[in-house]
Symmetry: D3
Subunit: 324 residues, 6 copies
């Protein structure tokens, strides 16, 4: 994909024109409160892997409405004393896979909690967490972005964002963890979840590392790219044009821009200028909304790869620096 | 798509090698019995349309587990006396749309019940029926084919097939309908549902018109085409290879071949020899399993169009002939 | 296709900069006069179909140069007294197919004349009308848009537009029809033909329903999309660059914008903002040129689907309202 | 395209199972006789080019039904005495273009007549010959393969094959040409025309050079590839399935296999084993049917490029050898 | 990609029909001997990374003709005593990237030497090793597979295979390594290199883990897939058909099948049945040629993903088991 | 490709903003001086072809660093006296192929030297010239544009541009040639080389004919198209983002814009407005920089075909005019 979005100087000051939906705070605080009320203590069980340097645990914690959510916890083998902890969220379509798929943060000396993504894990890396949905919530385009999208109460991402905030709360209480050094991280959908979680439970989060985040400035993003998953919304609205304002109003409730405003922890973000999956204007709209200390890594030539190891390195260094 | 499946002479005698899964009858009769127990009477409300020749009704009936399922009922305006009735099922991804989208059977003098497809209707024609799913049932590939696919009890198509059988039962009891002349019809997924319903409640069905049916001879079909929706299964098994035998065993429960064996009504089926969406060997596997009187329309040059108006004409004539 | 044309506010006031070619009126009035001189009475023969609610007729009428053009006429079965009549034109590549393919307007209480498209009907729905072409008229790109395109006199669309105007004249004289309530309708190429016919014989037309019309603002449209059929022109001009001004001057004679100016009947038009086949600036250029009462349905999310049943409903209501 | 047709050893003995249609000889001899009766003498006019080594002429001769067909004649500048002459036919979609596009045979010392292809020349190299078609002959898929395809009398290729045979007769009578050394040549559609002409007027032809010929073993070829132009037939039959036997019977009249049987001149043919446009089994079916001396150049790795300069060299050497 | 190669039961016994080229052993032993003669001691320099659990080193060793080749060495931080060592090779187009890209084997307790791929690293993960090529060695298709392919002496893969064998020899001499427990591993091109190295220096290798290896049964593979990199050969032979036998004879010298025969260490291999990049018949041809203890992981649903974490787990367990 | 670059009026005055890199003249004069010092006399050997009108010679001359470069020399057969001479360069990926592939300029009365492209000739027309590269010069993306791109000294195009300048010098000294009438010509990469050579050895060149030249305004071009070969740079920078400024600084040394400034001969250039391979803004940037007499042929509808025979004709006429 050639350069297709705004030029970089305009991106640097781009702000989303979409206002926060009314009742945003109440919607999310109510949702979180319900989840907490329904929560039971996390279960943490060691699992066997061929790794000698990392000890892995299967974790089950209470997410949205107290529903069970799976995660892996990887820790440097033999580490004693409280460790800083990273909560990582996963890109669209993938699940938590296997413990050996997640080695970076434990190798760097962190406790590393990888939250499974409810219902996902059927496309490219397996998952283990169901997405119970009593409401059913009407038609959807194949994928997750339009599940339940006719109302904020029923939409899929309400459940998933709540899981993410809960994962942070759970991580802070894991044994052997230093809750004062808690990081949220992820890329693409995982990048969106890390910013959302940092905005939902800002008091718990010490640093944010969000790579090419998805779900930013949604009203614009769905009109400037043909790539999935954003195009799922377009497909849905073609089939259901009479629902357009309702659907967009629902999606406003998960637009990362509104969570970014609430972040208090220092944040590092990456953006790729040729990224048609998560267009750069959206990423900048979210980044520019963050009131805390922040740093953006601009990958001028990347598509949705978004820097890969180069961003990982920058993120590790940024986080090390902020937590010490 | 050039010819890619077996040559026509071999297709004519092709039989699926996959045996019926153990407990098949008990599984389905139990599911249906539960649905019937939870059922409440259908609601039928006239709706306004710009059509003068057809009267339309919004229908809500009790499907799987008594859950509400929407439908349209179209009748020739001013018709008096009981009419033969067609229950139609919809292709993958589409919902019931608008009453004006469904004119063929009412124009031909039938009462026409078009069942909405739960959860679908977000891709190309809108829908109105949610798919409540308390179990959540684990990861899935975007789409519907792998929803809940880890067990027969939780899979999406258990719910949808049950809706279809229930739609037949409901149609038979609609006022102004001659239940002794009840037809099931549809194309692609709708063709699969019509064969499935005819096998689930054979005593209610007087004729079947199934165009290029989906979900036939699934174990073979998923290996000979790259087209969605069959490819959803492949994608799921790439992410979750350890689940392959479980997933295939689940899918055996919805393989149309096993329902075809139970059909007692005369059936007309279409097949397209260049159809990569519903490969012809699968269609013939189902067709060849039907023990009742039957007729197959072979479209040698078609892909998944599967004959369109030519098959519609043949189906109308076949049905007229069988019901008179 | 993401948004790729002008933003909606600019579209709303966009006007084509291309002037009407000199001699436009004389060219078309002469062509029509010749066609009328060569005309013989239409032949209308009832045909058998499986439909009980609609009576169908095979129609042959005199089109361009008196050449025979086929049509279907569908009427509500048993209707007595003069009916309002709709003349419908077909999208690119398709022919009239079967009578059962055309149920909407008869179901709504109209006589419905569906004009076959000369030479077309070999791509997705069959046709029955030849396109005699004594001149041969030089090379063309596969397709119909560049047939005979080196001169207005020889181009294919001269013949087809004339057929369309003649279809209106013929429809007005059909038995059992109320010529004071005559509608032209169609989508894509059919949308272009409905606007062209309404501009060619404005005194015969009482209402226009044109969905995502093709052939609007041609000089711009061929430069902003890669999609066929507009791209046929580009392909032709690559092979014959020395003919560019001649070809574009020929195409000016069929640019819908110039016909729109002559429309006197109220018109409803649809446009789809992500439509790369019939780009929205062209549709607005034609719409904005209509001097009569008018209404535009904007489908913000659609590609060339252009609203489908939603536009059908709006069109039926608009027409009902205007004719009553 | 990977190897997709029969293995080479099977290709070497592959024969088309399609019998010659009844009346084949009478059909073609009648058509040719009519063309000859309507013929007028060719017009040959020198044209100016920037070439000093080649003299070019614009030629107009009488083709099918005496209709005018254009050609270029290139001769080595200053050549005196009668020259051997090559009649070349052009690939699908292209026209004769410019004289400078045709340098090979004149550079090799031949008079070189390049026949324009009626109606073509709108896709990639311009043309100058119209295709008058009084009959119109019904619907067609965009392209030339299904024009008039409902009957042998009306099909486009009847006209084009006749042009080709006439071009040979005209070439033999050009001034400065040695009619006893006349070659027909071409690639793809041009390869088909060279074999067809060599079968239609075998007594005029001294050698044949046919590269990757199109239109061989048509009934099989249309089922084993998705590539155009063969796929035009599939598209047509999807729209008009009731016409399939009629269409295929028409195409039998232009199947190169039946012309190959009538060739008496030595022939060199090329085939490419990965050629999805002109599948190798068709080429071998034609080649294997040639009763005269023959040679085949097998390009194992080529798609429809079919050897290019390597085949040109082989053809020049083969022809030189046969004519000396 | 649907199933496209031989059925699994035939794959299980499939043997390549291509004989070993004459002089194979002399060619490779001579090449290796030259490389050893030109070798200088490896340079190993610690590099700084953000990882606390892994210590990383930049390694430069003498590869083909003594030319410098880069590698990363990752070791569990603080490990004392000799460690088993894994030499890993990289997939096509990628370079060694960053130390943090390679965490699996060190996390499992191994010293892990990741060899950079000369000249590669410009497509998806960066590299640092040049590919000096004094000969230049004629034309090539973009990519590496046809570089120097006109003779075994000049081809690119001669240099790369030699680097791989040298990497094994170098790894065995690294400080802190237990040379009696040396593993070669990799996927795709890396899988080919691991089998090649295990065949070139079998006495040094204790276990092999080769995922979906490339370059197996080359003569067949290039004819049954259109995917790069195998298709580079086809492209080259289209441009240079007169070189085909020479090119194929050159490629015989790097066909993994001939190296597999020489392996003495136990080997685990993966194959994916829908893998169009490294077709399964090639993988089985290599696997079936291994005379040592062996195990194959068949991924029935995978394309070139080839099992990913599932194969990693199997490989770790297999290796652990063999080395203990 | 629809119009995607600047509008034509803006193109007509577009100038590249990229300054000439420091040391540009010294870099190239030093490189050329070295090449000249290492040069040995060209070898010219007649080769046999089937052409009677053209005599062909195999030429080997000393290019970059004195390395041997192949060429074909075609001359009108029997021409006596010194001829004007054209040096032609070849498009990306192709080699010199066969002498019969190059007939235009000899047919027009010129001696015609066709320079082979080192290392290329493996994609679509064969080649015979190796590209010795002692440095190896680090990773590259498949293709030639990023070979050695980390420094001006090592990059592939340094060698190729030098070959081109040397080919001009060699052509001027060929026997039977009038060095005062020397033309450089080519299309795409060949167009770039003709402009580069005309800027490197301006005193030797009498006219330039450059069709749709590649490698113009590189910094912009790589950001506005996804087409190869420009996209090779993007791919490389994705893998090696830390090298971006170095890579772009290297590419500045071969940006045709800087050579265009040094051209003193009259030049004809073509540009195609829908050309995504060599975007029109780049071509205009180079054209607008030429200080000599010049003419541009604008093909408004072409993609990278760039006018073909129409431009050939214009170029022949332009050159004839300038040389007489």
């Amino acid at each position: 994909m050639a350069l297709f979005d705004l030029p970089l100087p305009e991106l640097r000051s781009y702000r989303s024109p979409t206002p926060e939906p009314p009742g945003f705070d109440a919607f999310w605080s109510g949702t979180l409160a319900s989840a907490r009320r329904a929560a039971t203590p996390a279960k943490v069980t060691e699992v066997s892997t061929p790794l000698r340097g990392i000890t892995s645990y299967d974790v089950t914690f209470s997410g949205y409405a107290g529903q069970p959510v799976k995660a892996w916890l990887n820790r440097p083998a033999g580490a004693t004393g409280p460790l800083p902890v990273v909560v990582e969220f996963i890109g669209y379509g993938g699940g938590r896979g296997l413990p050996i798929d997640w080695l970076l943060w434990a190798s760097a000396g962190y406790a590393h909690l990888v939250m499974d993504t409810r219902g996902q894990g059927g496309s490219w890396r397996g998952g283990d967490t169901p997405d119970p949905d009593e409401s059913g919530a009407g038609p959807s385009s194949p994928g997750f972005l339009t599940r339940g999208v006719l109302a904020p109460e029923t939409m899929y991402y309400r459940r998933l964002y709540t899981d993410a905030a809960r994962a942070v709360e759970v991580a802070a209480e894991l044994p052997g963890v230093d809750a004062s050094r808690l990081v949220v991280a992820g890329k693409s959908q995982g990048g969106a979840l890390s910013l959302a979680a940092a905005g939902l439970v800002p008091e718990k989060v010490s640093a944010v590392a969000s790579g090419v985040p998805f779900l930013c400035d949604i009203r614009r993003s769905v009109t400037i790219t043909d790539s999935d998953p954003f195009h799922e919304v377009v497909r849905f609205l073609r089939a259901n044009p009479h629902q357009a304002s309702r659907v967009l109003a629902t999606l406003d409730h998960i637009d990362v821009v509104h969570f970014a405003k609430r972040i208090t922890a220092p944040a590092i973000v990456s953006v790729a200028l040729m990224d048609a999956v998560c267009p750069p204007s959206g990423v900048f709209a979210a980044y520019n909304a963050i009131p805390a200390a922040k740093q953006i890594e601009v990958f001028e030539w990347d598509g949705h790869e978004g820097g890969r190891g180069f961003f990982d390195t920058a993120a590790l260094e940024f986080v090390d620096d902020r937590l010490s």
